[in-house]
């Protein structure tokens, strides 16, 4: 069924390395942080693809490289059939309008010296859309859409709560009528009671405007709630990708299994009966990933080939992709 959906965005062999240099006068290139190391996946029109994984595994870097906020080291990002990594100048600028990002930290991502109105209208100005009065109307409309009183246009970010600031970020991202939004942990910095407000808002907007989301988070409960499909990332690589229900019912990669079993469930009766997969050891550095499978240093099921060769990311069952030697 998933094959029949239209592909909006295809990521093919995406790599993003950050060089490590040494020396003050002459900078020598001594290695790379392999933040994103060869990702291949599709995002379907109108879906929410969840991207989960531990801190530092490369989720934000993936989002930024897709939006061309970083120049990828290798690979292609194909948006509606066109490779945007090859685009320059005006055509890239036009394409960027259709792809937006909501950032991890609502406290740091809004300019404290700009009013809410200016923050939301800035993208319209940059792309010279609408004139004075129309633009002000558009801003009020956007604030209304995200559930903020349009009367707030002249206030500054510090006068708002975390949840309200995140709504301002959403209004700004919506200003250019994008098709695709990367939501980079949009609720992690918010209080539990406020998180649900923002999740509900994102879901309503998706319905209303037919948006496609890449939803980055480390909280699997939230990702399960909002996603149609989920990609699990570990140390710069995808280890599993499948539908949300399949991932939960039948996680195949040992890392996904450990991750799911580690998520606490707010119910003492369930918690009492749960069996945990407790991982030993710490996460290796992306500057020095282990030989073979990236997960072999912590994997409870590792066997010989895991220490030798890298497992291929392949479709084990229809629509269920896994990178593991067990399959």
């Amino acid at each position: 069924m998933s094959e029949q959906k239209d592909v909006l965005l295809r990521v093919d062999g995406l790599k993003m390395y950050f060089p490590i240099t040494q020396g003050i006068v002459v900078q020598r290139h001594v290695g790379d942080v392999k933040a994103v190391d060869g990702l291949t996946f599709d995002i379907h029109q109108g879906e929410t693809l969840g991207l989960v994984g531990e801190s530092g595994c490369g989720k934000s870097t993936t989002g930024r490289a897709i939006l061309q906020l970083y120049k990828p080291t290798a690979g292609q990002v194909i948006f509606e059939g066109e490779d945007i990594t090859a685009m320059r100048g005006e055509s890239l600028r036009k394409m960027r309008r259709r792809m937006q990002m909501i950032f991890q930290d609502p406290y740091a991502s809004l300019n404290p010296r700009m009013t809410v109105g200016n923050i939301v209208s800035e993208p319209l100005e940059v792309h010279s859309l609408f004139n004075g009065k129309e633009r002000r109307e558009k801003v009020k409309e956007l604030l209304d859409v995200v559930g903020l009183n349009p009367y707030f246009v002249n206030r500054y970010p510090h006068e708002f709560s975390g949840g309200q600031r995140q709504r301002i970020g959403v209004a700004r991202a919506l200003a250019l009528n994008p098709d695709f939004i990367v939501c980079d942990e949009p609720i992690s910095a918010l209080d539990v009671s406020i998180q649900a407000q923002v999740i509900n808002l994102l879901e309503d907007l998706q319905q209303e405007f037919g948006l496609t989301y890449l939803f980055i988070a480390h909280d699997l409960s939230v990702v399960r709630h909002i996603s149609d499909r989920i990609a699990v990332m570990y140390l710069g690589k995808l280890v599993e990708l499948t539908t949300r229900d399949e991932l939960y019912a039948n996680p195949m990669h040992p890392y996904s299994q450990a991750l799911l079993s580690a998520v606490p469930i707010p119910d003492p009766v369930v918690e009492e009966k749960r069996q945990r997969v407790i991982l030993e050891g710490d996460v290796p550095s992306p500057a020095n990933p282990p030989k073979g499978c990236n997960f072999c240093t912590r994997c409870p099921k590792a066997f010989e080939p895991c220490y030798e060769t890298e497992p291929e990311f392949k479709e084990i069952e229809s629509g269920h992709w896994v990178a593991c030697h067990l399959y």
Partner: protein, 336 residues
């Protein structure tokens, strides 16, 4: 089990330029030996200030414990001199603080930081404290502890540093361990490691624990009893299973309803608690939750409900009964 701790009408305020911050507003609870108490509530509701007040770790000025007593092993900690309370902290009462990155000293080795408390409180010499530090690091699962004891904090990962903090918290075999959001900054797989470890140590050593968190998932598998705080007050208290099965304060009901759960079919809308917590400088009249409460009635605007018993070990501070009374509004109240 014998009573270990009794907190009576504890009230802590901060005297700031903007006014008096009512951080903790007369909270009372007890804790038995070997018992684990979870404290939940949203950011700024007074969880940290509440437990810091127990051991008088409130910066003064601007802070002040203005009222109440804390009876620990029969003695009132609030009346103790600085010297006396210092000999309790890190000794009979161990602590793990909210931020593992800033609570370790970057220029001291891991070993030195653990040994310090041992030498101060237990009167150990260097050799003894070193042997015990290695033992503690092994206990919290640091491999080749004898070598790593000479490392500096930056050479440890986040999860390892948090385990060092736990080792320090446990170093003097405390009767009570206060853990303030000890796993919030960590990834779930590492968090599961730590929770597992703390449970094992609790069962082996028989200490009581106060575990503060805003994550209702983590405490579910750990606590015996729970306190829910709102605006510096306790709004609900119950045995852990009772709290999750029959939440009785509208805030607790909202909090549990707003959580997406990994084990439940999704797709439905989450219940969200609209509005914001009140300003602690200018606490509203009536129930502190009334502005956001879906069940509020006239009385909620004028009178603050007392914490009263509603079941076995179950208390709530609310004028209505959420199991019987209807929802009266969906919208937060706005002052005009």
């Amino acid at each position: 089990m014998a009573r270990l701790l009794e907190v009576n009408n504890l009230r802590t305020q901060f005297f700031t330029q903007d006014g008096v911050v009512n951080a903790v507003n007369g909270i009372s609870y007890t804790l038995d030996e070997g018992e684990t108490l979870g404290i939940v509530g949203e950011s700024g509701c007074g969880k940290s200030v509440g437990v810091m007040s127990l051991i008088k770790l409130i910066p003064t000025p601007p802070g002040k414990i203005v009222e109440g007593s804390v009876i620990f092993n029969g003695e009132n900690l609030i009346d103790m001199s600085d010297g006396e309370i210092r000999s309790v902290r890190g000794n009979k009462i161990g602590m793990i603080f909210q931020d593992p990155m800033t609570s370790l000293n970057p220029v001291l080795t891991i070993g030195r930081q653990i040994q310090e408390a041992l030498e101060l409180h237990m009167g150990m010499d260097k050799a003894q404290s070193k042997a015990r530090a290695i033992e503690l690091l092994e206990l919290v699962g640091i491999p080749s502890a004898a070598d790593r004891i000479n490392d500096y904090p930056h050479q440890f990962s986040g999860g390892m540093r948090q385990r060092v903090m736990i080792a320090i918290g446990l170093s003097c075999n405390p009767q009570l361990l206060i853990a303030d959001e000890p796993t919030t900054a960590l990834d779930v797989t590492i968090q599961a490691q730590i929770v597992d470890l703390v449970k094992k140590l609790r069962d082996d050593l028989g200490m009581a624990i106060i575990w503060i968190t805003h994550d209702l998932g983590v405490v579910a598998g750990l606590a015996d009893r729970m306190l829910v705080m709102y605006a510096g007050m306790i709004v609900e208290e119950a045995p852990v299973k009772e709290l999750y099965a029959n939440p009785s304060h509208p805030y607790t009901v909202g909090l549990l309803g707003s959580l997406p759960r990994l084990d439940q079919v999704s797709g439905e809308k989450l219940d969200s608690i609209e509005g914001l917590p009140p300003d602690l400088i200018d606490l509203p009249k009536g129930c502190p939750f009334h502005a956001r409460c879906k069940y509020r009635i006239e009385k909620c605007f004028t009178e603050n409900p007392p914490l009263k018993t509603i079941g076995v070990g179950h208390k709530a501070a609310c004028w209505i009964d959420v199991t019987k009374d209807p929802i009266t509004t969906e919208r937060p109240y706005q002052e005009v």
